[in-house]
């Protein structure tokens, strides 16, 4: 059982030469599966492998896109049936760019995906709002101002307490996320239970 487990360190698991090679390239970040899941060529990842920051950003971008698949927005959130799903990104143009690459040519439930780069204070009438940065106070400020966002995603320490629905965490060198069901419910967004199964923590109530 142990032997076959997805090891934290690539070296500890020697299933195949190809696997070992890929893991080695990712320099400890076991993200090959995520990259493959997003259809990104390993070559691209390799080209931009400037550091763990870039890798983390790519993983998070992929996650952001995937969250759309497990989120059910109210019908009133869309102007019409053909209206696209919009993703707003605040505080990281790199992330916006990365996300733009991820969603290119993809649809969620038959809707196009649009990525918009927002500034702090911009009216944030988007379906999913990613607030970059680990500054919880800033994130809280932005969350308060951007009350129009239906599914806010943060990556700061106190994201959920400040009203975010999903908050990225780095746990054991892996990108994980916590979920607040109360916030989702407040925003009238239904999150799939299947998403919750892979969440690091699911918060219900004002904890």
């Amino acid at each position: 059982m142990i032997r076959h487990r997805f090891a934290r360190t690539p070296q500890s698991s020697p299933p195949s030469p190809r696997r070992r090679q890929a893991v080695g390239r990712l320099a400890g970040w076991s993200l090959a599966a995520v990259c493959a899941g997003l259809g990104l060529a390993p070559a691209t990842a390799h080209a931009e492998a400037g550091g763990s920051q870039a890798l983390e950003r790519r993983v998070k971008a992929a996650f952001l896109y995937k969250f759309l698949g497990y989120a059910d927005f109210p019908a009133s959130a869309f102007a019409d049936s053909a209206a696209p799903v919009t993703i707003g990104v605040i505080g990281s143009d790199e992330m916006a760019a990365e996300l733009g690459r991820v969603v290119a040519g993809r649809q969620v439930r038959g809707r196009q995906i649009v990525v918009r780069t927002l500034r702090e204070g911009d009216p944030a009438q988007v379906h999913l709002l990613f607030i970059a940065g680990s500054d919880s106070a800033r994130a809280a400020r932005i969350l308060r101002s951007a009350s129009g966002a239906l599914l806010p995603v943060t990556e700061c320490e106190l994201g959920l307490q400040n009203g975010s629905v999903i908050n990225f965490r780095i746990i054991e060198e892996r990108v994980r996320f916590d979920v607040s069901l109360d916030s989702a419910e407040r925003n009238n967004v239904k999150l799939s239970s299947r998403l919750l199964t892979v969440a690091n923590r699911v918060v219900k109530g004002n904890s």
Binding site: M1, H4, F6, A33, G39, V108, V198
Partner: protein
């Protein structure tokens, strides 16, 4: 042996029937079982594949988020749910890159999992079923699920086969039981038929029948078999009866043939003897005639010659009389006139006949009679004939100078007459047959001793007609013989009338008409009657006789039947029509002694019928009865 064979025979049909049922059941069950087995295995496989595919689908759905969000530990936990399915040996989730993402193996098992993902589908290998299933999320292939399960096909096959085999065995046993019960309806009657057939073969008893009341073809068979037995029995019986009849007839015919041969031989001997016996008296008679012719003057010689001739003639007449009597007895036309007879008279009559013959042989004759009179019921003439025959016989078969004894005694109500001699005797085997017709004691005896074999036969028949018995005894050849006659006695002491005819004859005279063309005979009789004092008219033809009768009005008319010009019958009828005719006693004198002739004579009006040659005593007897006739007619 028999019963075992019987069981074997019965068992073969029975076992065939049971085998038939069992094998039919077996064939049906086998084909049904094979079909069921194949169907089940196919269903089984499809079920297992479907089941595992469904399981893989569920796993795919469950692990899809884990794959999407790269959560291998969650995927591992989710795979661990497969614990609930013990038949699943191992499972794995592969990322869409083909790399293994998470795994599960059943506790306690060493399983090698494929390192790379493979196309969707299933594979059955070495008792294991493997399923590859794609994980599709949001229209994108995110990975592959692999499940490996125990595939219990052989196990299933064995289990199912065992159950089917058990069921089949049970069904066969039931079929055998049912068949063994049902077959009895067929085999039992067959067995019964076989048994009866065997018994019939062994015992030849066609009265045996197959019991039971069966219906259908078996019933028809049994019935037909029984009918057949009955028919065979009838035929066999008929055949046996026919055989018995044939055997009996054959026997009878053979006896008859033997008897005919014997009778023929006796007849030949009889003819030879008869000729001899008839010839014998002729020589002395011729000699007597010669004496009379040559020495007619010598009174003494004439007397002696006349004596000889008379004796010889009497012997000859006796012989012929016996023959005629025997013939009458044999043809059942012999009648005896029963009456009251005194023994001494009978003995005297008999002695009168045979005394001269006994003396001629130089025998001593001893007579011993009871003192008081003994009365018998019978015909005096015939009783005398019995005695004379026995005495004659004794004289004949005793060598010259022997002794002949006649004894009589009364035992209870039976008169026992014994005639014994000191003659040649009888062999024991001859004691019965001497009484048969034409049987002589010994044909090798000298002819002089030989008789006709008629006398004893006649004697026995006469005795039997009188209700008596006769037996011969002898102490052996050469030691004499003894003939014993037993006759019933009538004990009535005093008869009402005791006529003594002789007295009347001597005192009374009649008118007598004699008609015969035998001139010598009629003349000699006429002379005798005339000498006795009667008035006699002699005629030699019918018309003369009729004329004489009309004129003479006789008391007695002795008429020959074969008269010239007019038959005795016509003459009798003519006489009866005369005025004095009814009073005349008519006596037919004829050479024909048959009953038919006698009947004709009575029809023509005759009162008596005499067969030639007529002895004078007979005429005297008829004349002696005249008084009785007179009484009847008046």
């Amino acid at each position: 042996m028999q019963s075992r064979q019987h069981l074997n025979d019965g068992g073969s049909v029975r076992s065939k029937l049971i085998k038939m049922a069992v094998f039919t059941t077996l064939a049906a069950l086998l084909s049904a079982s094979i079909a069921m087995l194949l169907l089940d295995l196919r269903t089984f496989q499809r079920y297992w594949v479907d089941d595992l595919t469904t399981q893989a689908d569920i796993m795919a759905s469950v692990t899809a988020p884990a794959l999407a969000f790269n959560d291998a530990s969650t995927a591992g936990q989710q795979l661990a749910v497969l614990r609930a399915r013990p038949q699943i040996l191992a499972g794995a989730v592969y990322a869409n890159t083909g790399a293994r993402f998470a795994t599960y193996t059943k506790a306690g098992l060493e399983q090698s999992l494929p390192p790379r993902a493979q196309p969707a589908g299933y594979r059955i290998d070495n008792g294991e079923l493997e399923v590859w299933h794609n994980v599709v999320e949001n229209g994108e292939l995110v990975g592959t699920v692999f499940l490996r399960s125990r595939y219990g096909l052989v196990e299933r096959l064995l289990n199912y086969g065992a159950i089917l085999g058990g069921v089949m065995l049970g069904a066969l046993v039931i079929a055998a039981l049912v068949a063994s019960r049902l077959q009895a309806a067929i085999t039992r009657p067959l067995e019964a038929v076989t048994n009866v057939a065997r018994q019939v073969m062994q015992q030849r008893d066609f009265t045996l029948r197959v019991p039971g009341n069966n219906s259908g073809e078996i019933g028809v068979l049994v019935e037909a078999f029984n009918d057949m037995l009955a028919e065979i029995g009838r035929r066999a019986e008929a055949l046996q009866a026919a055989n018995r009849t044939l055997e009996h007839e054959m026997d009878v015919r053979q006896k008859a043939e033997g008897a005919l041969i014997v009778a023929d031989r006796r007849k030949d001997e009889f003819l030879a003897t008869l000729a001899h016996e008839l010839r014998n008296p002729l020589a002395p008679i011729r000699t007597g005639l010669d004496i009379l012719r040559i020495r007619s003057g010598d009174a003494q010689a004439t007397q002696r010659a006349t004596d000889i001739m008379e004796r010889q003639l009497r012997q000859m007449v006796r012989l012929v009389d016996d023959l005629l009597d025997v013939s009458r007895i044999n043809t059942g036309k012999f009648a005896i006139k029963m009456g009251r007879v005194e023994l001494k008279a009978v003995v005297n009559d008999a002695l009168e006949v045979v005394r001269s013959y006994i003396e001629l042989h130089g025998h001593e004759l001893a007579i011993d009679l009871p003192d008081r009179p003994v009365f018998l019921h019978g015909d005096a003439t015939r009783l005398a004939q019995i005695l004379s025959n026995l005495l004659n016989n004794a004289a004949k078969y005793t060598n010259r100078g022997g002794k002949v004894t006649l004894g009589a005694r009364v035992e209870d109500k039976t008169l026992v007459l014994e005639v014994s001699d000191t003659g040649i005797g009888l062999a024991p085997e001859m004691l019965d047959s001497v009484f048969e017709m034409f049987v002589q004691v010994d044909s090798t005896l000298e002819r002089t001793n030989a008789g006709l074999g008629v006398g004893l036969s006649l004697a026995r028949k006469l005795v039997e007609l009188h209700g008596g018995t006769i037996a011969a005894s002898s102490e052996g050849l050469g030691r004499g013989s003894r003939f014993t006659v037993r006759l019933p006695i009538v004990v009535d002491p005093e008869p009402l009338s005791k006529p003594t005819p002789a007295a009347f004859i001597s005192t009374e005279t009649y008118r007598i008409l004699l008609a015969d063309d035998n001139v010598d005979f009629v003349n000699s009789i006429g002379a005798l009657l005339t000498a006795m004092g009667h008035s006699v008219v002699i005629t030699h033809n019918g018309p003369d006789a009729l004329a004489a009768a009309a004129r003479f009005c006789p008391d007695y008319a002795f008429l020959d039947i074969g008269l010239p010009q007019m038959s005795g019958y016509d003459l009798a009828r003519g006489i009866r029509k005369l005025s004095c005719g009814p009073m005349t006693v008519l006596i037919a004198v004829t050479g024909w002694g048959q009953e038919k002739d006698r009947q004709l004579a009575f029809e023509a009006g005759f009162d008596h019928h005499m067969v030639k040659p007529v002895r004078f005593e007979q005429i005297e007897e008829i004349l002696g009865n005249r008084s009785i006739i007179k009484k009847l007619r008046t």
